[in-house]
């Protein structure tokens, strides 16, 4: 409930329960709680409401409502064992076991040398192929489409229509002829066509059109800002639009302008969230 000016807000009271108050507010808030029966009562109310909701949910969906865990546990054990066995079957693990550490380091050194030569060769080849055509711009190690070729194109649909239709764009096939046109437009050598996925810049789930201005060749080779990361952004924007947190035009504009910046903006991160955060201090 809203509090009067001289009482704590519900937000602050909520943060008290997790000891997450801003350090500068910690002492005054606790001092206020000590002296204010109204805020203590409100704190108790909030805790009660949350506990009651939790209880309601757990009683409604308690263990007996869920399938027994035994079968699922057995299935997981089998899959874990299979995963472990597939590791142990790799022959070079066994080879490494019988080698001395010195030999292993020598092999690692040789492998690094070969890798360096390989990278040089690939870059040399890429430099040569760039003479054929400029495949894509790179933004912070990530590919972005050429704005002149792929500015993005949308259909005249509303957010309501998109969300009601439930079409997230995930099953929309791109005809082979159109794919070919896109690759030609980007002057991608035929020998390298298999290295690219022709993808929508603005996904159909956000109103993107089946139009060559909305298609670009996304390289599979990008290891950081790759197609999977872009898919996650598309899902996030679709969710935000359909839950009313973001208007459709902004979502379309942001993903079409620079999808990597949009990802950083809407996931509040500088890097793709493909691995768990390491910064949190909370353990199990």
């Amino acid at each position: 409930m809203p509090n009067e000016a001289n009482h704590l807000s519900d937000q602050e009271i909520l943060l008290v329960t997790d000891d997450e108050l801003n350090p500068s507010r910690r002492i005054p808030v606790h001092a206020h709680l000590d002296s204010c029966a109204t805020c203590r009562a409100r704190l108790a109310e909030i805790k009660f409401t949350l506990a009651e909701f939790s209880l309601l949910r757990q009683n409604g969906g308690s263990e007996q409502e869920l399938p027994p865990a035994d079968d699922a546990r057995a299935a997981l054990q089998a899959r874990l064992a299979e995963s472990a066995a597939s590791h142990s079957r790799r022959p070079w693990r066994a080879i490494g076991f019988f080698m001395s550490p010195g030999t292993q380091w020598a092999i690692v050194g040789a492998a690094l040398l070969f890798a360096a030569l390989g990278i040089w060769a690939i870059r040399h080849q890429e430099a040569r192929s760039s003479e054929v055509g400029p495949p894509l711009a790179e933004a912070e190690s990530g590919p972005i489409p050429d704005k002149n070729l792929t500015p993005g194109a949308t259909l005249p649909v509303t957010a309501g229509e998109l969300c009601r239709s439930g079409d997230s764009g995930e099953t929309r096939p791109i005809p082979a002829s159109e794919r070919q046109r896109v690759l030609q437009e980007y002057r991608t050598p035929e020998s390298r066509a298999a290295e690219y996925e022709v993808d929508f810049l603005i996904t159909p789930g956000l109103g993107g059109a089946d139009d060559i201005r909305n298609l670009w060749p996304e390289p599979y080779s990008s290891t950081v800002w790759n197609a999977h990361v872009k898919d996650a952004l598309e899902d996030r924007l679709h969710d935000m639009v359909c839950s009313g947190q973001l208007d459709l035009a902004t979502a379309q504009h942001d993903i079409a302008t620079d999808w990597i910046s949009a990802y950083k903006k809407y996931f509040h991160t500088q890097n793709p969230l493909s691995s768990p955060p390491n910064s949190s201090s909370h353990s199990l």
């Binding site: 519900d10 949910r57 874990l80 439930g166």
Partner: protein, 193 residues
């Protein structure tokens, strides 16, 4: 674009062979994963089902989440905030699966089944009726909440701290507290009627 659960799972960190891991260590890790499964399976499954998924899909997601956790720990990655990690992966896979399987936007707790069983707790018919009506009101309020607010409530109900909820949903801590404040106010108003 990915179109199936198994496809979406391929977006998770890939396995890498750890040469130093002995069979004994691998077995120890498997036991640890099973221990975590026993501890969190019901809570994670409830959360997955809150997206309107079938039990079968929910169970499959939980399996894949723990396999991913196994790979994650094999890679020697951080063990901090594993609980938040588990819920985040369940959240992402559930959203993905809902898009892939149903292709429709659903409201969390779409059938209300999670909240309909508690009426037996009321000792007499009059109280039972009052409980039914109250639960119906709360259910209606929940269904009317934005999806993000529902997720915050569900995650809090599963015992996550606000900071963990923020991590799972990609929100700021302040946004989580605002969301919960809004949801609490609505629940309390419904309860006063």
């Amino acid at each position: 674009m990915a179109i199936s659960l198994s496809d979406s799972l391929r977006r998770l960190p890939l396995s890498r062979v750890d040469d130093s891991a002995s069979p004994a260590l691998a077995s120890e890790l498997e036991n640890e994963i099973i221990g975590l499964f026993d501890e969190f399976r019901a809570r994670l499954l409830r959360y997955a089902l809150s997206f309107g998924l079938s039990v079968h899909d929910g169970e499959e997601i939980i399996q894949e989440v723990f396999l991913s956790l196994y790979r994650h720990l094999q890679l020697g990655r951080s063990r901090k905030n594993l609980r938040g990690w588990l819920f985040r992966v369940v959240h992402n896979l559930s959203l993905k699966q809902r898009h892939a399987a149903h292709g429709v936007r659903r409201t969390i707790i779409s059938d209300g089944s999670l909240m309909e069983k508690q009426i037996d707790l009321a000792p007499n018919p009059e109280e039972q009726l009052a409980a039914v009506q109250r639960h119906a009101r709360l259910r209606a309020v929940l269904q009317a909440l934005p999806e993000r607010d529902q997720s915050c409530l569900h995650l809090r109900a599963e015992g996550l701290r606000y900071r963990e909820i923020a991590d799972v949903l990609g929100m700021s801590l302040g946004a989580v507290s605002i969301s919960l404040t809004r949801s609490l106010a609505r629940l309390e108003r419904a309860d006063e009627k």
